[in-house]
């Protein structure tokens, strides 16, 4: 598209400069007229000399002409044989001058004849065009030409591309040209040595196109032979009945190559028998008795013996035919040295891609781990300090996300709204947490199971309330522009900025929590209450206040996690319940009452989930199932989680 626009602009400039010259110079028209016949009726035989003549003329208008010519937009006026560019309008053509681009009036379809170069000619024209474009002064056009080559590479582009490399002024474009030249050379270079060098130079290239080129070189197709050929480039010998080639598929190959008769399966037998039914009998056997495959088979054999149907081809026949033939995959590329080099290079790239994919997976795992950490840490704190499981924790996450959504309704600037939403979400959920602790939980200490159920009651009430207020459809929480991109390391490894931001947020909270717990008076008191509530109370710590604050803190972090999660997932009234089980798992696996434990749990679960998804990418449900099974088994070996309190502090 850009290319086209540039062409038009170019043409207009030409027109202007021509107009300034005052003299109607028509050099291109002249050249064309000198080769009028070759232009009007191009063929593979004549087009080369014509293009050579055009190139020799070194006129500015040549590329535009070539392009129009290829696109079948050049017309010859019947009356005087002059060539024009034309566009079809209703009932006629608008003509423009080939040199100046000036309007040359209208013509009806009888007054002009359209030049229709055939496919072969157009390829040659295209090649010549590429040469022009690759050397064009405008970098945008050179980029466009490279894009065109990358999109549909062909052998005739290799030469022009090579010639254009040396004079390329732009280093980035030069690199790209060199790389593209390697890709083309790997497929189209003349000599075997040249191609192998090109193939081997692709080693270490992570681009998808490099792998595509190698895979194209390695294209293979199945073939079957009575005796194994020696003069063919064989990719692999297949054994029927193996994973690569089932017996049925192998036999189908034989049948379609007319090397064996089709198997007489259940359906053909049935069809043959039905066709042969005569007065309730088939070959003298009553139809009613044909209720097993064996009976039907023997009836068919009776028919075959009578010559009514072709003889039965059984599985034994199939096996015999299969045994006497060789099944192979044949490379399209006949040269074995080249396919070997390509295979080796592809394997090497494959290894490297796998390493990078592992890195990418690790990055995904890390980001999932930080989400779980944010979602679970509040739960872990309240569970650790107070021994209560807050089933409404997921709904606090939801509340945080909805807070973010409401803030965005009032503050249209996404960055500013995010800055407002984070502390506001903390404040809202902190308040909700404190209220819940004061109103419900504090009456239920020493009854953890009942706390679990009471908080569940709150959870369903909150969920339904959110549904009543915000409706059932998902609400958007839009991230600011600077968070919408990707952080890309190479072709394989990349991660979205939102996830990076969540990771940073998780790190900040890890730091903050560790600071609060280890360095502040509040943290000291919290740890004291965690380890021995009775003793802490007798030392003048007010457990009521500590419980209230920790519950508020845990809930507040859930609110912030809600904003973070809302940025990349949808905000619905049910979003909390999607995270609550994972959060529980994180706490259980990590161990109670310890920030590091939660971190370890989140890391384990995040990485594990990504790992399972990697091995079973199509099925996230199965991944989650395996995940939970793993956790149930994990509990067998470490019932108290990864980071367990030991000895008397653990209370046993």
């Amino acid at each position: 598209m850009i290319f086209r626009l540039v062409c038009v602009a170019f043409a207009i400039c030409l027109g202007l400069s021509a107009a300034r010259a005052q003299a109607p110079a028509t050099p291109l028209q002249d050249v064309l007229q000198q080769n009028a016949d070759a232009v009007a009726n191009p063929s593979r035989g004549t087009v080369d000399s014509l293009i050579a003549a055009l190139l020799e003329s070194d006129l500015d208008g040549v590329p535009v002409f070539l392009e129009r010519w290829r696109d079948r937009a050049v017309y010859q006026r019947v009356s005087d044989g002059l060539f024009f560019f034309g566009t079809a309008t209703d009932g006629g053509f608008d003509l423009t001058d080939v040199d100046t681009g000036a309007d040359a009036g209208r013509a009806t379809s009888t007054e002009v004849s359209e030049l229709r170069p055939n496919a072969g000619v157009r390829r040659v024209i295209g090649g010549a065009l590429v040469a022009f474009q690759l050397l064009d002064n405008d970098p945008a056009r050179r980029v466009a030409a490279l894009d065109a080559i990358a999109r549909s590479p062909s052998d005739d582009q290799l030469g022009p591309l090579r010639r254009s490399i040396e004079d390329e002024p732009d280093p980035a474009l030069k690199d790209r040209k060199i790389r593209l030249e390697r890709l083309l050379a790997a497929r189209y270079a003349e000599s075997e040595a040249e191609r192998i060098t090109a193939i081997e130079s692709l080693r270490g290239d992570l681009g998808v196109d490099a792998r595509a080129v190698l895979n194209l070189i390695l294209t293979s197709s199945p073939a079957v032979f009575a005796t194994m050929p020696t003069d063919r480039n064989i990719a692999a010998v297949l054994t029927p009945g193996s994973d690569d080639l089932s017996e049925e598929a192998a036999y189908d190959q034989l049948v379609s190559a007319d090397l064996a008769p089709p198997l007489t399966g259940v359906e053909p037998i049935k069809a043959a028998l039905i066709a042969a039914i005569d007065g309730g009998q088939v070959a003298g056997i009553p139809v009613a008795s044909l209720t097993t495959d064996d009976a039907r088979e023997s009836a068919y054999e009776a028919l075959a013996a009578a010559g009514a149907v072709p003889p039965l081809v059984t599985l034994e026949d199939q096996a015999a035919s299969l045994a006497t033939h060789s099944f192979v995959l044949l490379y399209a590329e006949p040269n074995k040295a080249i396919t070997d080099a390509a295979r080796e290079t592809l394997d090497a790239i494959g290894m490297q891609v796998a390493r990078n994919q592992a890195a990418d997976l690790a990055l995904d795992g890390l980001s999932l781990a930080s989400i779980y950490f944010l979602a679970a840490i509040g739960l872990a704190i309240t569970f650790g300090v107070m021994g209560v499981i807050n089933m409404a924790h997921g709904e606090f996450i939801m509340m945080g996300a909805y807070t973010g959504y409401v803030v965005q309704l009032f503050i249209p600037d996404y960055t500013l709204s995010l800055i407002v939403a984070l502390p506001l979400a903390f404040a809202v959920t902190f308040g909700a947490g404190v209220a819940m602790e004061r109103l419900v939980i504090r009456w239920l200490y020493h009854r953890p199971l009942e706390t679990l159920l009471a908080t569940f009651g709150i959870s369903i009430a909150l969920q339904q309330l959110a549904k009543n207020i915000f409706g059932t459809q998902a609400r958007p929480l839009t991230s600011p522009a600077w968070l919408s991109g990707n952080l890309t390391f190479n072709e394989v490894v990349s991660i979205s900025m939102i996830r990076v931001a969540i990771f940073v947020l998780a790190l900040m909270f890890l730091g903050l929590l560790i600071y609060i717990l280890k360095r502040t008076r509040l943290g000291l008191e919290v740890r004291a209450v965690t380890q021995n509530p009775g003793m802490a109370a007798s030392m003048g710590i007010n457990p009521d206040r500590i419980n209230m604050l920790t519950f508020g803190l845990g809930s507040g972090i859930a609110g912030i996690a809600g904003v973070a999660i809302g940025l990349y997932a949808k905000v619905t009234s049910e979003m909390g319940s999607e995270y609550i089980v994972q959060s529980f798992m994180t706490v259980v696996v990590g161990g109670v009452g310890n920030v590091w434990g939660t971190l370890a749990g989140a890391t384990l679960i995040g990485f594990l989930q990504k790992g399972i998804e990697f091995f079973n990418p199509s099925n996230t449900l199965a991944a989650q199932t395996f995940m939970i099974l793993f956790i149930i088994l994990f509990i067998q070996f470490r019932p108290k989680g990864i980071v367990a309190l030991k000895g008397r502090a653990a209370g046993d």
């Binding site: 030991k646 000895g647 008397r648 502090a649 046993d652």
Partner: protein, 246 residues
């Protein structure tokens, strides 16, 4: 006197704190033994190790004539081997009646299906009455254990211990919260029990220990400091330094 329980070279560490340090004690077939020691000497942990609640880092605990290792057994298996324990704080099942508490402790097959198809018999009822008589709770049999006084709960727990008919009784501070008369009764009961089985009493109260009139083991910082008669250990200078002297 053949050995019933042999604890040798046992150590336990909690988060770097050595609760038991190379402890070796052996208890005879029918012996009354008092274990004393200051707070944190490892008395309760010692009991935890025998009853399987705490697994030691190193050491051996060998039980009975067949020299079984108790370390490989779960708490319930150890209890079924014939080791009964009375906790410092009386832990009876407060929601259930005294009779139910005793019936549960009574020596009978312990498998779920044995219990499910368990039928009361005259003999067991008589045994419960006998124990109730002994612990002075005959009139309280239909009462809920939670309604008993602290002292009565202590008695009930001792009764449950007797109902188990163990070969080794581990008794943690039995006399706490009892009147002098009750203490006397307890002493008599423990002494009588020790005639047919081994009884290990952990106690702070020197007067109570004196009345038991038995061999005394003094624990300090997780290992045995002295062993012998009460008079013997009270003359030991180490013991005086760490425990009695203060």
């Amino acid at each position: 006197m053949s050995t019933l329980l042999e604890v040798s070279g046992v150590s336990v560490t909690f988060d770097g704190f050595r609760a038991i340090n190379n402890l070796s004690i052996s208890i005879g077939q029918a012996e009354l033994r008092a274990v004393i020691g200051p707070n944190g000497a490892g008395k309760t942990t010692f009991m935890d190790i025998i009853t399987g609640k705490t697994k030691p880092d190193v050491g051996r605990v060998i039980w009975g004539p067949r020299s079984l290792s108790l370390l490989d057994m779960s708490e319930s298996e150890i209890a079924r081997q014939g080791i009964g324990r009375k906790f410092q704080k009386p832990t009876v099942f407060e929601a259930q009646t005294v009779r139910e508490n005793l019936a549960m402790a009574l020596k009978n097959p312990r498998g779920p299906f044995d219990v499910l198809f368990y039928r009361k018999s005259r003999a067991t009822a008589a045994r419960i009455d006998e124990i109730a008589e002994e612990i002075g709770l005959t009139d309280d049999l239909p009462r809920r254990a939670g309604d008993l006084s602290h002292g009565q709960k202590q008695w009930l727990e001792i009764g449950m211990l007797l109902a188990q008919d163990p070969q080794l009784l581990l008794v943690d501070e039995p006399a706490a919260g009892m009147t002098p008369a009750e203490r006397e009764h307890t002493t008599a009961l423990l002494v009588r029990a020790a005639q047919t089985r081994a009884v290990v009493v952990v106690e702070h109260d020197m007067e109570f220990v004196r009345r038991l009139n038995c061999k005394v083991t003094v624990l300090h910082e997780g290992s045995v400091l002295a062993e012998g008669s009460l008079d013997h250990v009270t003359k030991n200078q180490d013991v005086i330094d760490v425990y009695l002297g203060r």
